[in-house]
């Protein structure tokens, strides 16, 4: 019964001993498993995906165009679809009553009264104002539409009679992308300088570190204001949009660069980097094959976390009138109308863009948290 020791393979390092032991999971998959565990991060990403889709399909979601004014309805309160008519009958099809503008014989003020004779049903996927998606696809299909003379203003209008609901999604196109463009710029700039400084060290590292220290010790908002004030007023909105992105990233790249530098600085002493150097790997190879892949996930986390600051920056600049200029619009610019207490009391719906700003910022922060956990899949 007893097997003797000789029955075992003579070579104790025979390759068959660990056959089924190892698992085949790539680092990327480990990261996804870890990310999935963070419920808030999943919610955040869902909200953000919705926001960006809504921005792309702004024309489809909003019933009216960006510059479409409704002269008879300046500063109108929300006109919501209803399910119950004047007589109290309930129906599943939403409808609106057309509003008629009349002068009150007693006060001589213009008041809007609903004409309850005709129900104007909401049409879904119906034709309305023409628009383009991503500047290429021309169409006029809207998510919902109501025939003239009835109107539907889910979030009311501004004092020029423009539908706020539609404009919020057009504004999202600017507000949500200014952060991305700005972060991409500071990502490129910050990563290059951070890697160069962290890996090569020396005078360049010292100089770039001092510049960053000066940059991040400036108070942000005044710096933004000063830089934004330099943008020539004659520039077109698109030029202005990119100028604002550059302003935001000029202030922002320093923090990112520092983080990258710190990571590279730590990684370059790792044994695998030294092993690569002893195998005569070029600096280019070490940076692209060893340092970048191992810092990339962390860089993306840092970038995600700095997007909210950029969005807030754009909002602040536009709110103060130094950012995006009409006819383009952004959430900051939409909020610009809500600067006075008097306006706020009479037209509180003008504040709704702030809710979108808050939801976006919180979602980005949740996403960033989730990514940070995922970026380090081996931590316990």
């Amino acid at each position: 019964m007893v097997a003797s020791g000789d029955a075992m393979p003579d070579n104790p390092i025979s390759p068959d001993f660990d056959a089924e032991e190892t698992e085949v999971i790539s680092v990327r998959r480990l990261m996804w498993l870890r990310f999935k565990r963070n419920r808030l991060a999943l919610i955040g990403s869902a909200v953000l995906i919705f926001m960006y889709l809504a921005a792309i399909f702004a024309g489809f979601i909003g019933p009216y165009g960006l510059r479409e004014t409704h002269e008879k309805f300046p500063a109108s309160a929300p006109l919501l679809p209803r399910f119950v008519d004047e007589e109290g009958n309930f129906g599943f099809r939403p409808f609106v009553y057309a509003m008629e503008s009349k002068v009150d014989p007693a006060t001589f003020k213009r008041v809007l009264t609903p004409n309850t004779d005709v129900k104007h049903y909401l049409h879904f996927f119906a034709r309305g104002t023409p628009y383009t998606i991503l500047g290429v696809i021309e169409t006029d299909i809207h998510l919902f539409h109501v025939d003239e003379p009835a109107k539907v203003f889910l979030l009311g209008t501004d004092k020029q009679g423009r539908d706020l609901f539609s404009r919020i999604f057009y504004g999202a196109q600017v507000s949500l992308t200014v952060g991305l463009v700005g972060v991409s710029l500071s990502l490129i700039f910050g990563t290059l300088i951070g890697i160069a400084g962290g890996y090569f060290g020396g005078l360049f590292d010292d100089a770039s570190q001092r510049i960053i220290e000066v940059l991040i010790s400036f108070p942000q908002i005044p710096l933004w204001l000063a830089l934004a004030a330099l943008i020539p007023p004659t520039w077109t909105s698109v030029q202005r949009f990119f100028a604002i992105s550059i302003v935001l990233s000029l202030v922002n790249w320093g923090g990112l660069s520092r983080q990258v530098r710190g990571m590279v600085y730590a990684l370059r002493e790792e044994d695998y980097v030294i092993a690569a150097r002893y195998a005569s790997a070029s600096n280019w190879r070490i940076i692209t094959r060893h340092l970048l892949p191992n810092t990339l996930s962390h860089i993306l986390v840092v970038a995600t976390i700095s997007i909210p600051a950029m969005i807030l920056g754009e909002t602040a600049l536009s709110f103060l009138g130094l950012g995006i200029q009409p006819p383009m619009t952004s959430w900051g610019l939409l909020l610009n109308q809500a600067q006075h207490t008097r306006v706020l009391i009479q037209q509180p719906w003008l504040l709704t863009p702030a809710l979108f700003v808050v939801a976006t910022i919180i979602s980005f922060n949740f996403l960033g948290d989730g990514l940070r956990d995922a970026a380090d899949p081996f931590a316990n």
Binding site: P15, A279, S280
Partner: protein, 341 residues
């Protein structure tokens, strides 16, 4: 370009590596840490030199200075390359270093940090082959498969990532990477100290088999004196940046000539409860290498120290042929060997 016929692979002469200590706002240099302070030794072909010492004695710094990962402060590292002949690594230019590094590689201590977590085994082991344009495509795959087999891992693991492997397996991967270029000489820096006891023996056996098979020479750095005795032909003992004793393994372990060697040997915990150890009382701890004691660096802890030891630094002198020690009383002391405690 005549092949080098000399009986030496590596010749280290008076190698020094000092690190500046800077202080203050302007980072002025206020002193030096003499991490490696004039060490000399030679390694013959197919032999293993063990380098032992406690943490902070400079043995790892010495390894990286020999590999020219650190710029030496002084001295020579003469490598007898099979193709290039004798090359002084301490002053070699980039092109020469590139050539020489084909023939000298390193195995690291920490199997966690020595493998890039984002690369597959194929990329890790194949990297030197790609850099030296030795193999690519299917040829590269074949070569990596062969290397994996040689270190006792299945070639099918080639496309896996290091995190899927245990510490012992990772150390094999690191050894396969060092072997990829078919070198003459390997520096192994504590290759088994992060491994479990039962895995340590496998790794040591593997290193010995590879030495026979590929005619390798090793510089084997470790703090475990039992492991060093097992694998080394010669042993050098380092203390605060200097070699204090060097001899063939048997003589160093059985008739040491330096009191520090004796103290080390007597401190080894012996896996035998029958041995009643009578330890050499060694006081205190390693001195700060930034301000080592005057005279013999070991004198404050040495049970045999006399007045001269605090004054004069003893030179490394030959006590017997092939046995050197840096002690004023190397000839007079009757020190105990490892089996005499």
């Amino acid at each position: 370009m005549a092949p080098d016929q000399s009986n030496v692979v590596l010749e280290v002469q008076n190698l020094k590596k000092y690190f500046p200590i800077s202080a203050g706002l302007l980072r002025r240099e206020v002193g030096q840490v003499r991490a490696v302070d004039g060490i000399s030794f030679t390694i013959p072909p197919r032999k293993t030199l063990g380098l032992v010492g406690e943490s902070g004695c400079g043995k790892t710094t010495a390894a990286h200075t020999i590999m020219r990962g650190l710029e030496p402060t002084g001295g020579q590292v003469i490598f007898h390359d099979a193709l290039l002949g004798a090359v002084d690594l301490a002053t070699a230019d980039k092109e020469t270093l590139f050539q020489v590094r084909r023939n000298m590689q390193m195995v690291f201590q920490d199997p966690q940090s020595s493998l890039n977590p984002r690369m597959t085994l194929l990329d890790i082991i194949g990297e030197p082959l790609v850099i030296y344009k030795i193999a690519k495509g299917t040829e590269l795959i074949d070569r990596v498969a062969e290397l994996l087999k040689r270190v006792g891992l299945r070639p099918e693991y080639m496309r896996r990532f290091p995190h899927a492997f245990s510490g012992g397996q990772r150390q094999r991967i690191g050894i396969a990477r060092a072997l990829a270029l078919n070198p003459q000489f390997i520096v192994a820096d504590e290759p088994t100290s992060a491994l479990d006891v039962s895995i340590q023996a496998q790794t040591l056996n593997l290193l010995q088999d590879l030495q026979d098979e590929f005619s390798l020479s090793y510089l084997f750095i470790a703090h475990d004196l039992s492991v060093v005795e097992h694998i080394s032909d010669f042993v050098a003992v380092m203390y605060v940046g200097k070699i204090v004793e060097l001899a063939d393994t048997h003589r160093l372990y059985h008739s040491p000539k330096h009191p520090y060697t004796e103290a080390l040997l007597s401190s080894i915990p012996r896996p035998d409860p029958a041995i009643q150890q009578t330890r050499v009382a060694i006081r205190g701890e390693l001195p700060n290498p930034a301000s080592p004691p005057k005279g013999c660096t070991f004198h404050p802890r040495c049970p045999y120290a006399e007045a001269i030891c605090a004054e004069e630094e003893p030179a490394l002198q030959e006590v017997e042929s092939g046995h050197v020690a840096a002690c004023h009383f190397a000839d007079n002391l009757n020190l105990r060997g490892v089996n005499e405690f």
